[in-house]
Symmetry: C2
Subunit: 428 residues, 2 copies
């Protein structure tokens, strides 16, 4: 299915104007980057690269798409679109890498015509996915190795939910509630039951939680997770162990003071002999609540709303700017929106311990010399329109994990602050 | 294409457990509602109804979907899913209507099996679309009849962008930058050019803004909108009128102090004789910035990030709760999450002037009598699985417009406060 209409009208009107006088064929370089991190954030996680590479071959104007733009595109533009596929080159940061203000996350080279058409789709993918992955990575850091499950599908657009599950997995979440993310991206799908299931077992005599738990165990086995807070947590836990025995997989608590309830639940489970039964907590958790529960006997966090809404920063606010035309650097001079022209690459410097110290952005081909040459962050992603890297969530996950250990200690604080490392831009 | 996997795994595990013992066939009523409005908001706008009705016939488990769930669903569950289509009834608020805390926005009746499967998809659609429409309506109110254009596609997931454009249009925006929203929903598509187009006209002698403007006017006519802030706004306006003449449609300013620049631009345009040329402003506008520009000579607002992210409230936080099983009211008793059981309807009371005064939620069939019977908000949407209302954006737009004029004056204030009218829940 085409993705070509997931774009803004003005890209096509610009194309139309540029085709008339031949400027559409000028060689252009566009750069996708964030001028700043979301308010107070100390690092960002690049996500969306794989989804963009998967979308690229579908950025074609089929008959439906052509018909949709025929009322404002002239014949020459329609002819161009009919034959269009992106044949340029793309470099960029690997998916899962850290990014900071002015990191050249993506560099798109080709004719103006082909590069300008990708603007909206590329930004939509990176702005959404990076926002989610960046929030998710803070939660992963706050969880200090405990398991995180993404369960926010219901709080965001139904397709954004799928991408959010993917981004959370890249950031280090263990799985998702979302079935389509499991099918499409192989993210492990998790989940057992909601309050509605327990309430379904209501008869003339009122609620019958034991019957609900027995039914769930009969269907899903004793290793399942029973939701124990529909009526009363203490009774719920007693009912849960009565139904499943001491081999019960886990109990989930979705409301109340989760720290207090987790302690009580642990004690009650242990007293009942269910010492291996794990405790899942959920309900309006964000990175701060997760961190606040560190001292409590919580085994698994279920995170919903705050994950899919980027925990206060629902978009990464990346922009896609023309930086070079026919080899000449160009830049805008509008107030407060200055950026350096010319195509760029970046390296990240670190101490021998692995702790990162500086992001250095330099004009292409002018990598700074020195005893610490740093790690080159810019890698080839697309050549002549074809992806030259594999879309591999495992690699992206590994890169996030490495990245989080490379951030200076202060940079992992959840409080608002400056970026964890400075970005230095080398002038041409 | 199926939408059946845009759901959470636990709905299928619940289904599986409930099919084993026959409880899946119990008659159930689920209610979709918001326990509260987003922080400080005074009203919400229902959006998503039309999208849910359109999605409903596609909620089928085809071979791909069945294969995706085969590893955790037993044979009986797979058989059920293979034949599944929703055959129940849905009542709810009309799309575009106002809602308040505990308004029964949607009521879904059928077997537990068929109702529980819709949970995630219904919530995703309503939580996203209502969040956007609610934020958009505040902007529409703040704009005081001036034109608003939605241009935030690049700041949100590429499919969420399409739904956001639709929701903004329902709320009263005039159009969108998004081409797919235009094709799929008939939202007027708008837009002319970006800074990149102006910068494309850079030669050995440097930038050539006049050439860019001439090219755009040649392609799009003098009625086009020229973006004048790439280099210098005053020079840009002079170049714009030189290229298009005094019949120039509009100039757009995308950066800087928009109020000051709009005043200067108006004066300059008038001095040049371009008295009919309109002024479009954009760049990080939200409802507060829009309101602050009321006294300035701004004709059109372009709104991006704040629109598609719900202006601080990216999700409507609606929930989908089982309220009735086999005719018996049921409810959860967890801490802080109490809600009244039983299927409900609602009326909205108003003064003779049309100003609304109270939302009254009552058990189905127990509409309160009285001199002011109010307007019944709950209408039939689906009967035996088939939509019984037309999906009609024009009606939804009209309903929002009427709704905004019906809100008491204090309820339209942009500052944080209580809901514009109280909700009264009538006990059974």
């Amino acid at each position: 299915m085409t993705v070509a209409l997931l774009t803004d009208k003005y890209e096509l009107t610009m194309l139309s104007a540029a085709l008339r006088d031949g400027t559409a064929q000028r060689q252009a370089t566009f750069e996708l980057f964030a001028r700043r991190l979301p308010d107070g954030r100390r690092f960002g996680i690049v996500a969306g690269t794989g989804r963009l590479l998967e979308a690229l071959p579908h950025f074609r104007f089929d008959d439906t798409a052509l018909a949709a733009v025929a009322d404002f595109c002239d014949a020459a533009t329609l002819d161009f679109l009919r034959d269009f596929s992106f044949r340029g080159d793309i470099d960029g940061y690997a998916e899962g890498d850290l990014y900071f203000p002015h990191s050249p996350v993506l560099t798109v080279r080709g004719t103006f015509a082909e590069c300008v058409l990708l603007e909206t789709l590329a930004l939509s993918i990176f702005n959404h996915d990076s926002a989610i992955a960046s929030a998710a990575a803070r939660m992963v850091s706050a969880a200090a190795k405990r398991t995180l499950i993404e369960m926010g599908s219901r709080r965001t657009h139904e397709q954004a939910a799928v991408a959010a599950a993917r981004a959370a997995y890249i950031a280090g979440f263990t799985g998702t509630s979302n079935l389509e993310a499991s099918r499409r991206f192989g993210v492990p799908a998790l989940g057992t039951s909601a309050h509605a299931f327990t309430m379904l077992y209501t008869g003339a005599d009122g609620p019958d939680e034991p019957a609900a738990f027995r039914a769930q165990v009969a269907a899903l086995g004793v290793g399942t997770t029973l939701l124990v807070d529909t009526y009363d947590v203490t009774t719920g836990i007693a009912n849960a162990v009565a139904a499943a025995g001491t081999e019960l997989g886990a109990v989930r608590i979705d409301s109340g003071d989760l720290g207090v309830l987790a302690r009580q639940a642990r004690r009650q489970l242990d007293d009942l002999g269910a010492t291996g039964t794990r405790i899942v907590v959920s309900g309006d958790l964000d990175e701060y609540a997760i961190a606040a529960l560190r001292a409590e006997p919580v085994d698994i966090y279920g995170v919903g709303t705050s994950l899919v809404t980027g925990s206060g920063a629902p978009t990464a606010n990346m922009v896609y700017k023309l930086v070079e035309v026919d080899g000449r650097p160009v830049r805008k001079r509008s107030s407060q929106k200055e950026s350096q022209g010319g195509a760029k690459q970046a390296v990240r410097l670190s101490k021998p311990t692995g702790t990162i110290t500086e992001e250095v952005v330099f004009p292409v081909g002018q990598r700074p010399a020195g005893p610490d040459a740093g790690r080159l962050l810019t890698i080839p992603l697309v050549r002549e329109g074809r992806a030259v890297v594999d879309v591999d969530l495992a690699s992206a996950r590994a890169l996030v994990a490495t990245g989080l250990t490379s951030i200076p200690w202060e940079g992992l604080k959840l409080s608002h602050g400056e970026p964890a490392i400075p970005t230095r831009t080398v002038a041409p």
